[in-house]
């Protein structure tokens, strides 16, 4: 094989870039075992005390449970509302169809901080401020653009002959939807659910305005903690979250591969966020 210095340089750059991408995550894991309380570098010794501190009075338990609740309910809500909306957009003609599609995607191009303060004022006026329900509602609106975009693209790939066959064999529309349409877009729906969950679980910019005094989610609790303290308790928590996200990421990847591979997800190559933004513009 011919040695190409250009190619070697290109790969060296890629490796450097990947090191850059992994560096802050790797350092957090190392820091979580640092025996020094103020992040001394290099770590003077090894310690697991920060994990102990995390579980005994770290104050992150309630926010973690709250974040899981919000993310699960918001994902379910967004998936149902988004898939229904996508069915209407992809299958029916109705006045305002294009306008509706743009409208649902619009929260994507508005800065999250602006949505956060706007929803904060509204919720305060309505007396909803600080409730878990209002936060979930906000997260549904923030995740809908992704679900709708993915589901519309997924529906476009559904094989109509299977639906027609089901209808010809006497299946009512509801059965056609459940047994012929939705099973064909499993990969899309899994991807949409994963997207929604991650966005909701990590959402900070809008949520920081919406969580009440005593109702922090995990990201807002971590944000506030990091502004006040610098000890490695946050590193211990972050390491657990990193481990959790890797396990969840692997599980989703395996699930999608078993259903039909990345190719089964529309727009996977360009990236769903880019596709959704394009839709909104």
């Amino acid at each position: 094989m011919r040695i190409r210095p250009g190619r070697a340089l290109l790969y060296a750059f890629l490796v450097t870039g990947l090191v850059f991408m992994v560096a802050p995550i790797a350092i957090v894991v190392v820091e979580s075992f640092n025996s020094s309380a103020f992040g001394e570098w290099p770590p003077p010794g090894f310690s697991t005390q920060w994990y102990g501190h995390l579980f005994h009075g770290g104050g992150f338990g309630a926010p973690a449970i709250r974040s899981l609740e919000v993310a699960l309910v918001a994902t379910a809500g967004s998936l149902v509302a988004g898939t229904l909306a996508a069915l209407a957009i992809a299958r029916y003609r109705f006045p305002g169809r294009r306008a509706f599609q743009g409208f649902v995607a619009a929260p994507l191009i508005v800065p999250k901080v602006a949505i956060g303060i706007a929803a904060f004022i509204l919720f305060l006026k309505l007396g909803w401020y600080g409730s878990l329900g209002s936060l979930i509602l906000a997260h549904i609106v923030l995740t809908l653009p992704f679900v709708v975009t993915l589901a519309v693209a997924g529906l476009a790939r559904v094989d109509h002959t299977i639906e027609e066959a089901a209808a010809d064999l006497g299946a009512p529309p509801r059965t056609v939807l459940w047994r012929a349409t939705l099973p064909q877009m499993r990969a899309t729906l899994v991807a949409a659910a994963a997207f929604s969950f991650i966005i909701s679980f990590d959402e900070l910019d809008a949520s920081i305005f919406l969580v009440g005094q005593q109702a922090n989610t995990l990201p807002t609790a971590m944000f506030i903690y990091m502004q006040k303290y610098q000890d490695p308790t946050l590193a211990a928590l972050s390491s657990l979250l990193i481990a959790g996200s890797l396990v969840a990421g692997a599980a989703i990847a395996v699930l999608i591969v078993r259903i039909g591979g990345v190719r089964a997800i529309p727009g996977a190559r360009q990236g769903a966020p880019a596709a959704a933004l394009e839709e909104a513009v």
Binding site: L10, V22, W41, P107, I117, S245, A274
Partner: protein
């Protein structure tokens, strides 16, 4: 680019001119977005036309807050910092992202490709707060980078990066780099390998092939990525707050601080200025994209 199937291919019942059931299907999404997003943004606009003086809000229509902010040099310096941050982050991610996307495109070993993709996109699964925290550990005065620089006697005293513009830039580049690589890789993957082969057969060096063939055909990926990265960079909140430590003031932080001080009108005006900047940038990049695709198509047709 909506992919609605041809009406003739749809089952007969779907071809009726207006199907009122569709309004039932869209109503949950429509209702949620109308209330939480549209109605609240209108209320925010109304609040931008209120005045906040002496620690309380005056509930009469007033353009005082708009006039005050738009003539305040401090406000414009915050806008300037925000735009500067967005521009620098776009330029850096475009250069790094393009080279990395090209390397990934060239990488033919499937296993290595999967590993690279995993390393590139797994950071997306972790919270922005975690990643900013990681950068704070790396960039701090006693952090990993300064430790190495001091030990190798490259500097006499720690280089200040944390709580500086440079630290915020590094953190944002890290968070937004995948959003640049994704669209560029998407365009690269659609490239016809025959073009490169043809250029090479005609005697072009690898560099010439890149400059005359690959780059012009993939510029639209860079534009699409830049649009996304710029819009996300100017609205970023967590990274500038945590890595800027209050010393790097961007619009999103100003809005958060205004709300903390109960000054809703100022926060409302700043929100709409930020929204206007984001929309202007997205519009500009869309225009650029159309011009670029137009030029590409024209030259393609000319060459035929």
């Amino acid at each position: 680019m909506t992919t609605v199937p041809d009406a003739r291919a749809l089952p007969r019942q779907d071809r009726r001119r207006v199907d009122w059931r569709s309004y039932g299907l869209v109503s949950p999404a429509l209702l949620a977005t109308s209330v939480v997003f549209a109605a609240s943004m209108v209320i925010l606009l109304i609040y931008s036309f209120r005045a906040f003086t002496g620690g309380r809000m005056i509930s009469a229509f007033s353009t005082a807050t708009w006039r005050e902010l738009l003539t305040s040099s401090f406000f414009w310096s915050v806008v300037g910092t925000t735009m500067k941050l967005g521009t620098i982050v776009v330029v850096i991610t475009a250069v790094i992202g393009y080279v990395m996307a090209l390397a990934l495109y060239r990488l033919r070993n499937r296993t290595l490709r999967y590993i690279a993709f995993f390393l590139l996109f797994s950071p997306l699964l972790t919270s922005v707060v975690v990643r900013s925290y990681g950068w704070a550990l790396i960039l701090g005065d006693g952090g990993a980078v300064n430790n190495l620089l001091l030990r190798w006697h490259l500097v006499d005293q720690p280089v200040r990066m944390l709580y500086e513009f440079s630290g915020v830039t590094i953190g944002l580049v890290h968070i937004l780099l995948p959003f640049m690589i994704f669209p560029i890789l998407g365009v690269l993957d659609q490239l016809d390998p025959m073009l490169e082969q043809a250029a090479s057969d005609l005697g072009a060096t690898e560099w010439t092939t890149f400059r005359r063939v690959i780059l012009p055909l993939t510029v639209q990926g860079v534009i699409a990525g830049s649009q996304l990265v710029f819009a996300l960079a100017i609205s970023a909140f967590a990274t500038p707050s945590l890595l800027g430590g209050g010393r790097v003031q961007v619009l999103a932080e100003k809005i958060y601080n205004d709300v903390g001080g109960l000054d809703w009108p100022h926060a409302a005006v700043a929100s709409y200025v930020l929204l206007a900047l984001a929309l202007a940038a997205i519009g500009a990049f869309t225009l650029l994209l159309r011009l670029q695709t137009g030029t590409a198509r024209a030259s393609w047709e000319y060459s035929r």
